[in-house]
């Protein structure tokens, strides 16, 4: 079997390329360009002022805090889940895999809603926790929980196909030679998956920092306290402070571009050590 190499386009080819590029331009490039144009529409001072605002600083700090908690937790979960699924045989594996994938097919709003149902004022555990003085909803804890739920599959989805294709031979060899379980993991498994892990973490982080729907349901929109960057953008936009809204948005768009560049670099440089994307496995 031999795949066909890309050819130099001729007449019809150029037409198809033009159509595809026009569509991508309209759907992808135009919105991206507009973010940066609108951000600077009222000049550089207004752009910079958007970040001097204490609420904006608080929002940036909160977004970073949430990502710093949620991403490592999901990375650890991703490794554990991939390890369990690929190195052991057990019943209910398919079910486990579908549960891991579940957050991808749920509306982000539902991912926020479920936490309100548990911990909100009328929630199952809400009143009880309130008596103990613990607030989850309209608080940072809720935002972290919602973000963890939304970004849960990213690392696991990246690692599982890769570890599946690598099999268990190397681990078995290490164990036979007398290495302990943890030692096998650090010296054999981890080096084998490090680039794929980085890839998954990258995508997980991009989503964690940009999540809007789930977080907006649990946050309560208290400015300077529970507004993350995307929520701060919404608040500014609804206040008709368009230039400031787009200034903060341009920061997130910049993050998306950096993520994309790093992702492409990983694919290009270490493509062989990543899971082959048979499906849009990374971000679904």
């Amino acid at each position: 079997m031999r795949a066909r190499a890309p050819t130099r386009p001729a007449g019809l080819g150029w037409l198809l390329i033009a159509a595809a590029l026009a569509w991508l331009g309209l759907a992808i490039l135009l919105p991206l360009a507009s973010v940066f144009v609108e951000a600077f529409r009222e000049g550089v001072p207004v752009f910079l002022a958007a970040f001097a605002d204490p609420d904006a600083k608080a929002a940036i700090r909160l977004t970073l805090t949430v990502a710093v908690i949620a991403v490592p937790l999901n990375a650890i979960f991703g490794i554990a889940a991939a390890w369990a699924v690929t190195k052991f045989e057990f019943r209910g594996k398919t079910l486990l895999l579908s549960v891991i994938d579940l957050p991808f097919s749920m509306s982000p709003v539902i991912s926020g809603l479920v936490w309100v149902l548990l911990f909100g004022a009328n929630g199952w555990f809400g009143p009880w926790l309130e008596d103990l003085g613990i607030r989850v909803i309209f608080n940072v804890t809720g935002i972290v929980l919602a973000t963890i739920l939304v970004t849960l599959p990213f690392v696991a989805r990246e690692l599982i196909p890769l570890m599946q294709s690598q099999g268990t031979d190397e681990e078995c060899a290490a164990i036979t030679l007398g290495a302990s379980g943890p030692r096998t993991f650090y010296l054999v498994t981890l080096p084998n998956i490090s680039w794929a892990l980085l890839y998954g973490v990258l995508l997980c982080n991009a989503r964690a920092m940009g999540e809007f729907g789930a977080v907006s349901v649990v946050s309560g929109h208290i400015r300077g306290l529970t507004d993350t960057m995307p929520l701060h953008i919404e608040a500014l936009y609804n206040d008709y402070q368009y230039a400031s809204a787009f200034a903060v948005a341009s920061l997130l768009a910049g993050l998306a571009l950096v993520t994309l560049a790093a992702k492409s670099l990983l694919e290009w440089r270490f493509g062989g050590e990543l899971a082959r994307p048979t499906l849009p496995a990374g971000i679904k």
Partner: protein, 260 residues
Amino acid sequence: MGFTVFYLSAIVLIPLAALVARPWEHGWNGFWETVLDPRVLAALRLSFGVAFAAAGVNVVMGVLVAWVLVRYDFPGRRLVDAAVDLPFALPTAVAGIALATIYAPHGWVGALVGPVGIKIAYTPLGIFIALVAVGLPFIVRAVQPVLQDFDAEVEEAALTLGAGPWQRASQVIVPAVTPAVITGFSLAFARAVGEYGSVIFIAGNMPMRSEIAPLLIVIKLQQFNYAGAASVGLAMLVLSFAALIVINMIQLAFARRGVR
């Protein structure tokens, strides 16, 4: 192993149990009254209908983009290839305000089509455009590997046997990519049904007309109507799983036909 199951239960299963249990607080009737409310029905119809249409358009444009990226060598191909993933990486709120601004009456595109009498922002058409932009990468990324691995010899055999370009496309290539197209379609559809951030800014959010189902959940929560919010959420979840199962069955039927 134990950690995996514990973490999944705490983060996914217990919260979902709440979603399944809460709608019945006001009994069986309470659930149906909420879901069959005309405003809720209109929102569900809008969310699912527009998501379906957007995924359908993306099938055509996504296959085109994947084809161009795999088959032709043109300057900037790698850059374009990387750019396809942008809707995945760009936060939905950012995409939302950008699209709303472009398609608003005085925006870059809105000002162009306005004089012709087309209104995009704050209508269902705006929702459609946002969902198309969000769903495009799913189809491209599903189809691309299949086209890449497509055996050139099969195509050459068809050429030698005298098949014209149209016949080669419809009888050799289409059957090969159809399963991948269906997979991409279902992913784009599932994402579009639940999409919130990129839609609410451009939608206008008029009840009965341009109000999507996820927004209705948010509204009900703001009124502290937990049972109502959970009812709409559960209805959305059940409907989208039903849709995905149907799509899966269609795909299975195709796979079986291919074997024969």
